[in-house]
């Protein structure tokens, strides 16, 4: 049971470059999320998706693009990376169902450094 996996785990890039962080889940959960974690700000929601081809903005969407062509994948793209996007990014998926509605599971995180 692989669960939810992120890649790459570590990435160093330069200002202005495009970067894509991948997220893959094997549970067929409908909902998927991208969070960033920064000292002093905790975890903040960037984007989420309710199903394939349905995405919506979270708290801090500026500078990010998402897509969801398949239920199991939810990539996050920084079209032109900035230093302020240096962070740890977490992908998550949410279990649904009568007893477990809403339980969130996180991937291992992707640490991105923008020079």
């Amino acid at each position: 049971d692989a669960g939810i996996t992120q890649s790459p785990r570590y990435k160093i890039t330069e200002t202005g470059r495009q970067v894509t962080l991948m997220c893959h889940q094997t549970w067929s959960h409908s909902y998927m999320f991208w969070y960033r974690q920064d000292l002093g700000h905790g975890l903040r929601l960037i984007y989420y998706s309710a199903a394939a081809d349905i995405t919506d903005k979270g708290e801090v969407p500026d500078g990010y693009v998402v897509s969801r062509s398949k239920t199991e994948n939810f990539p996050l793209t920084l079209e032109s990376a900035t230093r302020s996007q240096t962070s740890v990014y977490f992908c998550a998926s949410r279990r649904e169902g009568a007893l477990w509605a809403g339980e969130l599971f996180f991937g291992e995180g992707s640490r991105l450094t923008v020079l």
């Binding site: 909902y31 999320f33 979270g58 977490f90 809403g102 339980e103 969130l104 995180g109």
Partner: protein, 110 residues
């Protein structure tokens, strides 16, 4: 939006000690989870507990939804319990947003 406050912010324990972490929230919720972020940065699910009491080994949690708080108990603490413990809630009026508390940083000394 909903406010989530965790206390204490920092906790230093001697191995073998017991402790209680608290999470207060300002509105009605339909989802509450406790997570442990280990020193390697992984966010590990501890409990999904919008109400009631659950136990898992040395850890247990209680949520009193009507009084808007949740407690996480760590008994016989071990060095591997070190890390940051987060409470996260989804307010009934908040749609899909999960709001995290600021965390309790726990250090268990051998």
């Amino acid at each position: 939006g909903i406010q989530v406050e965790q206390s204490p912010p920092d906790l230093i324990l001697q191995e073998g000690a017991n402790s209680t972490l608290r999470c207060n929230f300002s509105d009605s919720v339909n989802n509450l989870q406790w997570f442990h972020q280990n020193p390697w940065g992984q966010l590990i699910n501890l409990f999904y507990i919008p109400s009631g009491t659950k136990q898992n080994g040395r850890l247990s949690a209680t949520t009193v939804a009507t009084e808007r708080y949740s407690l996480l108990y760590i008994s016989s603490s071990q060095t591997t319990d070190s890390g940051v413990y987060f409470c996260a809630v989804r307010a009934k009026a908040a749609g899909n947003k999960l709001t995290f508390g600021g965390g309790t940083r726990v250090l268990v000394k051998p």
